[in-house]
Subunit: 285 residues, 2 copies
């Protein structure tokens, strides 16, 4: 189903960006804008139109959640500076904050490390009616976890299956999972890190460790490829979103969320009380 605000797409974004069999990350051009038929200068109007629709759909999702139990979970993974924060601010930020459940996963605490890697994740699964957003996620445990060898190889290997089981369980419970990798090129990252160093209002976002991770770029791309090979399932597919153009990435992620909500197709629920009787009670006060 095509959202009415989505006429500017020349193709279905979900289909264009979904990681299917034989997908190769190294063949994706981070500068590309798959499916978008208009120009950058049109993209702001298109984002605003989509925002209104997303906001209304989320409210319907919430209103109907007592009956449906449905929720949405957007998982965001990316190299540093790829624009996770901008997605949260400009796409998720257009939804009523009461309908959003945001969880940012940083380096695990000692308490978190004392549990299975999914323990802290389970505590943040969105409630029915909400759009949950994971800013980083359980995938860190097979990305930096693998690249930095933070766990033994057989434990890393075990996790792919554990993740698929976990995501199947969520799906069975009514959570629609949308997994997004924002994909930038190494050159684009260098420019963005340099901008952070240049601007006094951005310097606080720069951490020397960012360059250490950057030097492991090829290992990270390998780890992402393995993630895609092992965990892009029909119930919880990955989408690789070219993100060198921030405006495109925002429109594309918005469109993926809209598509998911339209697929749920939430309706205003019928009242569970007698409307006329309540009107009489109210007017008697």
């Amino acid at each position: 189903m095509t959202p009415k605000s989505q006429k500017h797409w020349t193709g279905d974004v979900g289909t264009l960006l979904r990681v299917g069999k034989g997908f190769r990350l190294d063949r994706v051009d981070a500068n590309d804008t798959p499916g978008y038929g208009r120009r950058k200068r049109d993209s702001i109007d298109d984002l605003v139109a989509g925002a209104d629709e997303l906001s209304e759909l989320q409210e319907r999702l919430y209103a109907s959640s007592d009956v449906s139990g449905a929720a949405v979970l957007l998982v965001l993974q990316a190299m540093d500076t790829a624009g996770k924060g901008g997605i949260i601010r400009h796409v998720v930020g257009s939804v009523d904050p009461q309908g959003v459940q945001l969880a940012a996963f940083k380096a695990p605490t000692p308490e978190e490390l004392a549990h299975d890697f999914l323990w802290r994740i389970r505590g943040q699964v969105p409630e029915a009616g909400k759009i949950g957003v994971f800013d980083r996620s359980h995938y860190e445990d097979v990305l930096i976890g693998k690249v930095r060898e933070l766990a033994p190889a057989d434990e890393i290997e075990r996790r792919y299956g554990a993740i698929n089981d976990f995501e199947q369980e969520l799906t069975d419970a009514g959570v629609r999972i949308v997994k997004v990798m924002l994909h930038i090129s190494p050159d684009e990252q260098r420019d963005r890190l340099e901008e952070r160093l240049d601007r006094p209002d951005k310097q606080w976002k720069y951490h020397p460790g960012d360059v250490d991770e950057r030097m492991l770029w090829p290992a990270y791309m390998d780890a992402f490829q393995t993630v895609f090979d092992r965990t892009s399932t029909p119930q919880a597919p990955w989408y690789v979103v070219p993100a060198n153009r921030k405006w495109y990435a925002r429109l594309a992620v918005q469109s993926l969320l809209l598509g998911t909500l339209l697929d749920i197709d939430p309706h205003w629920p019928a009242p569970t009380y007698d409307v006329e009787a309540e009107r009489e009670r109210l007017l008697a006060t």
Copy 2:
């Protein structure tokens, strides 16, 4: 200090709406628009201008929070339909979701009831750098708690002091507390409840219990008056915001938040690393 976006105010909103000595809730006109010198049709532009400023100030607050430890806590209390949700959507919703920590307090669970009334509240105190929002709060325990006699009278009495001690503790820890009662008239509430009954997209928001609470209006106003008498302190004052005009209430709460942030006056922090050395490391990759 007056925010640059706040030129439309003819007086300081904080001063005009603050609950001071001798305050009487029954003398507040819920239709009033204290301090606003323009018309309703101008209020949307004014809200947008304030939103941009609020958003930037929150980012500065976050950026500087490692050093300052500062946070803001907006406490929202009101009778049903007074517009808490609209404040969260239209005022708080203009801030980056990553900078907001929202907690909605509903009827306490058995686990929560097994603890002191502040236990569940403490778990939701905003982190440094964030704007926390309490949609209802510990004040429920001296509002519905008192009106419905959910606890013995001496326990209700004890709570006012416990609240003041708790809020002093938060203030000492760097949390600026802004407590807002959105004040509507009984007639306005009837109209809004009736609208919920009339509209298929609003019927889900109506609960028959709303009318039961409405019938206790005078008791609730008394309980609010006692709250103001006992807990409007210099470090955590109450503001009573006339809210029959939704546009005014939104502007006023936005202005209270802006005033609080400008009083904190957060600045971009100086880098904790050597910018030139990092630039060299980066460009060598």
